[in-house]
């Protein structure tokens, strides 16, 4: 066992310091003003940020996003009119079209990146932030938040929006493209999702979880 003194010192270091996630350098945690961000002094990684009212704002954007996500899925995003026929596409029907075209794996990738992960991000974020706000954190909160953080890169709706623009240009001179009602909702959804990830400060949620853990010990 180490002496009580050295134990005390390292316990202090644990609370007042942070290790850079990219280079492992130990840095003391500064007090941050609103909208201030700290970077690692050695490798410039973003360490911590102080977002004003981050939990409330993120919750607002997540709820807005969820409503827009539902609207985006109710109506077609795009329709194509040619030789008297109309073809419609929505988020789910795009994945389904690939399944019908004998590409089940590709269909699964589209389903996960454009539907499942964005939906879990929105619902999961709302669930966790409500738990944090109402102090009803349970043993599943931390693993769920970890899951959301690690699947963050796999929701690819903003890339899908870029693909819609590319498809519009490609098809524009061949056939009549009709913008669906959902396309407007979808554009706003991308805006909400960007604002959500901008306003979310994961450290705020972790700090709440850490405080809760210390109280229970």
């Amino acid at each position: 066992m180490p002496s009580s003194n050295s134990h005390h010192n390292s316990a202090n270091a644990q609370v007042n310091h942070i290790a850079c996630p990219d280079c492992d350098l130990i840095l003391s945690i500064p007090s941050l003003a609103v909208n201030e961000v700290t970077y690692c002094t050695r490798c410039d990684a973003t360490l911590l940020k102080n977002q004003k009212n981050s939990i409330n704002r993120t919750l607002a954007f997540a709820i807005t996003g969820l409503i827009l996500f539902i609207i985006s899925n109710l109506f077609p995003l795009l329709s194509l009119k040619a030789i008297g026929l109309t073809q419609e596409s929505s988020l789910l029907s795009t994945a389904f079209a690939l399944f019908q075209a004998d590409q089940p794996l590709l269909s699964l990738i589209i389903l996960l990146t454009t539907f499942v992960f964005p939906a879990t991000t929105l619902v999961g974020t709302i669930y966790i932030l409500i738990q944090v706000k109402t102090n009803r954190i349970n043993t599943y909160t931390a693993p769920l938040f970890r899951f959301l953080r690690s699947t963050d890169a796999w929701g690819m709706l903003e890339i899908f929006l870029l693909a819609i623009l590319v498809a519009l240009v490609k098809l524009g001179d061949v056939a009549d493209v009709i913008y669906g009602v959902s396309l407007y909702a979808f554009c706003l959804l991308i805006l909400s999702l960007s604002l959500l990830s901008y306003s979310l400060n994961p450290q705020d949620v972790w700090n709440k979880l850490r405080d809760k853990q210390e109280v229970s010990i």
């Binding site: 066992m1 180490p2 390292s10 270091a13 644990q14 310091h17 942070i18 290790a19 996630p21 990219d22 280079c23 492992d24 350098l25 130990i26 050695r42 490798c43 410039d44 795009l78 329709s79 194509l80 040619a82 030789i83 073809q87 596409s89 029907s93 795009t94 389904f96 079209a97 690939l98 075209a101 590409q103 590709l106 990738i109 589209i110 990146t113 454009t114 931390a142 693993p143 970890r146 953080r149 690690s150 890169a153 690819m156 890339i159 870029l162 693909a163 819609i164 590319v166 498809a167 240009v169 490609k170 098809l171 061949v174 056939a175 994961p202 450290q203 972790w206 979880l209 850490r210 853990q213």
Partner: protein, 220 residues
């Protein structure tokens, strides 16, 4: 310049909570005995991502192999009045150029050809540099890693375009688009390189710096 590992601390990968390594047990033997659990978020703690190098190598090589069918096999076939025309990634870009849609050609070129090659080369270079314990510009290498991690997912745009065209252009014999195996191979390359970037631990770049002074072997 002290790292968490030199202080006997482990930073949680998710919540950045610092935990103490168990007394007098170095990480290698501790890993064999018991898992260390983060007190804040209950994740399993590791000073460095376990087997980061071998996992990244494996994923990178798999991506490299699939890169061949992704570029040689057609990604989709456009059938127009009964005549099918299969397109590979490169021929798709060429068609766009021929039709005068150069902004679109540039976009697809960047997303489908430039970024994947950049990503494969960067990860390859990073892995090699760690194997040789290079001291060369660790900051720049970390920045390269961050760029790779950030831009990689945008390569999926071509896969989504194919999916949209398949869903929209279904007019029987007049005009239809069907997906081909090249599209799946390409999606697999993007996904595998995303996983490769994720399992790569940038802290290994910086470990070579401390190894110089302490003579400790850590990258393996």
């Amino acid at each position: 310049m002290t790292t968490a590992r030199q202080m006997g601390l482990i930073s949680c990968h998710f919540c950045h909570t610092l935990s103490k390594l168990p007394n007098d047990i170095d990480e290698k033997s501790a890993k064999k005995q018991t898992e260390i659990i983060c007190p804040c978020c209950y994740s399993s703690l590791h000073s460095r991502i376990p087997n980061s190098l071998s996992r990244t190598w494996a994923l990178l090589l798999a991506a490299l192999i699939l890169y061949i069918p992704a570029n040689t096999l057609p990604i989709m076939t456009v059938t127009y009045w009964g005549e099918g025309q299969p397109d590979t990634i490169l021929s798709g870009v060429m068609h766009l150029l021929a039709e005068g849609m150069w902004p679109l050609a540039l976009l697809i070129f960047l997303a489908s050809i430039f970024i994947p090659i950049l990503k494969l080369l960067t990860l390859f270079g990073l892995l090699i540099s760690i194997h040789f314990r290079a001291n060369w510009r660790p900051k720049d290498r970390t920045v390269m890693y961050r760029i790779t991690e950030f831009v990689g997912r945008w390569s999926m745009v071509d896969v989504f375009v194919i999916a949209l065209l398949v869903a929209l252009v279904q007019f029987g014999k007049t005009a239809s688009v069907s997906p081909n195996l090249g599209a799946l191979s390409f999606a697999a390359v993007v996904i595998l390189t995303m996983f490769a970037a994720h399992t790569f631990d940038p802290r290994l770049i910086w470990d070579a710096m401390e190894d110089d002074s302490s003579g400790e072997i850590s990258a393996k």
